[in-house]
């Protein structure tokens, strides 16, 4: 199996999730998403354990109602947990977290728990919202508002850019893999590394062209 085939399969799965939508209409996808976003920012910024718990309970409750897609939910939750646990481990040993908590904290385990809760629980409402409705449905329901639609367009554009870059990356990868003739793994991995470096290097150029194409046909609310 070639690297290209593997990449296309993986990219297809990721893009399918990114562009997925549902026909659920209750609660209103746009309103629910904005509420989730507000709760996420509030609980992350205000640094209150009460709000983290509220985020957790909110997510569990609405998770039961919305029945989000399990695979992306688990994937994203695992990533946020990892993002919480990895920097949290030193805190478990030192008891030092740069933030001051509004409640008194007695032990290192408590500091660690607060840190993990802040990082892992705060974004849960947003994760449930995205995996429950899918960005496509949220975007469609938010476009009704002139104020919000400008920001929604930017997210849509970002996703479009990602799709375009995926296609470009696939082409680049194919071109390199087609000229790897030796079985030496190092050659293949070097080709892959070069491809990634190429894409990063050309990201600006590719994105700029895409932005021009987008803006040239952007006449209202974008």
């Amino acid at each position: 199996m070639s690297l290209l085939s593997e990449f296309l399969k993986a990219a297809s799965r990721v893009l399918d999730e990114a562009y997925a939508g549902t026909d659920k209409s209750f609660p209103h996808p746009g309103a629910f998403f904005l509420m989730s976003l507000a709760l996420y920012f509030t609980s992350a910024v205000l640094n209150s354990p009460v709000l983290w718990i509220a985020s957790g309970l909110y997510s569990i409750t609405w998770g039961i109602v919305l029945r989000p897609r399990l695979k992306p939910l688990l994937s994203i939750t695992s990533i946020t947990l990892l993002l919480a646990l990895v920097p949290g481990i030193p805190i478990l040993f030192t008891g030092f977290d740069a933030l001051k908590y509004p409640v008194s904290v007695e032990s290192r385990a408590q500091v660690f728990a607060f840190f993990v809760a802040r990082v892992a629980l705060s974004p849960m409402p947003l994760i449930v919202s995205l995996t429950g409705f899918g960005w496509a449905s949220i975007s469609a329901s938010l476009r009704g508002s002139r104020v919000v639609s400008r920001y929604v367009s930017k997210v849509d554009f970002f996703l479009l850019n990602t799709k375009y870059l995926t296609v470009v990356f696939a082409d680049y990868l194919a071109a390199r893999e087609s000229r790897v003739v030796s079985r030496a793994r190092s050659t293949l991995w070097r080709a892959l590394a070069l491809t990634i470096a190429d894409i990063i290097g050309k990201f600006t150029v590719v994105s700029r062209d895409l932005v021009k194409a987008y803006e040239s046909r952007c006449v209202e609310n974008c």
């Binding site: 199996m1 070639s2 290209l4 085939s5 296309l8 399969k9 990219a11 297809s12 799965r13 893009l15 399918d16 470009v168 082409d171 680049y172 194919a174 071109a175 390199r176 893999e177 087609s178 000229r179 790897v180 003739v181 030796s182 079985r183 030496a184 050659t187 293949l188 070069l194 491809t195 190429d198």
Partner: protein, 236 residues
């Protein structure tokens, strides 16, 4: 030499098949033209023939054996030219680009240097081009460099995706010369193009039209000894 039999292919995530029960054979000394409108699957056929994509059904064989079992070594004998040269060129200089595959096959610097010089001259570019940085080249020059990098290791099968696109008349004639010479020397060439290129009129053994899904037989006519390949040492 290269055979696709009963190939069905759809891209991951897609519901429709790009290729349905598609079969194609390219033998040594043959030029097969693959034509069809945009989206008909020409590039997909080439990627499958190069072993980069695997069909959901059907088989791809190179010299009588399944291609996937011979990878990546079989790519030593299969050269793939992409439609967009920007995609293909990733080395800093033209020399690095043209010798990318030869350097995997041999450490003999004198042979590698000769291959580089011969290949760049074959596509009609001067030797001083070898020192140029790839990103400074024009589109047409990049296309010729990409072709040079593919013919440098004399593959038995050449898969060319729109090799004439974006080239001047003179460069097109050069590419046609390279194709005819490759066929004359015994390579099989599968060339994808929106429509049969006038430069190769009467040269193709067959034209496979993906738009109408039929194969048109044209007799081989007068492959001239164009002599456009520079002399080169034996393959490593």
């Amino acid at each position: 030499m290269l055979r696709l039999s009963g190939v069905w292919f759809k891209y991951p995530g897609s519901k429709t098949y790009v290729l349905e029960d598609f079969s194609l054979e390219v033998g040594g000394g043959e030029l097969v033209l693959l034509t069809g409108p945009n989206g008909s699957g020409k590039t997909t056929v080439l990627l499958i023939a190069a072993g980069l994509l695997e069909p959901q059904k059907g088989s791809v064989e190179f010299e009588g054996r399944p291609l996937k079992k011979q990878l990546p070594e079989a790519r030593r004998h299969i050269g793939l030219l992409f439609q967009n040269p920007e995609v293909m060129l990733f080395n800093p200089t033209v020399y690095d680009e043209v010798t990318f595959v030869p350097r995997q096959l041999s450490r003999d610097k004198s042979w590698i240097d000769k291959v580089a010089r011969d290949s760049i001259r074959t596509v009609g570019l001067p030797e001083r081009f070898l020192n140029r940085r790839v990103q400074e080249l024009s589109y047409g020059e990049k296309k010729l460099v990409a072709l040079a990098s593919v013919i440098s290791y004399r593959p038995k099968i050449l898969l060319l995706d729109e090799p004439f696109e974006g080239l001047s008349r003179r460069a097109r004639e050069r590419v046609a010369c390279v194709v005819k010479e490759a066929v004359r020397r015994g390579s099989g060439v599968l060339l994808a193009s929106h429509e049969p290129p006038p430069e190769l009129a009467g040269v193709a053994s067959r034209v496979v039209d993906l738009g109408s899904k039929k194969s048109l037989e044209d007799p081989v006519q007068g492959l001239n000894d164009s002599g456009c390949y520079a002399d080169s040492a034996d393959r490593a």
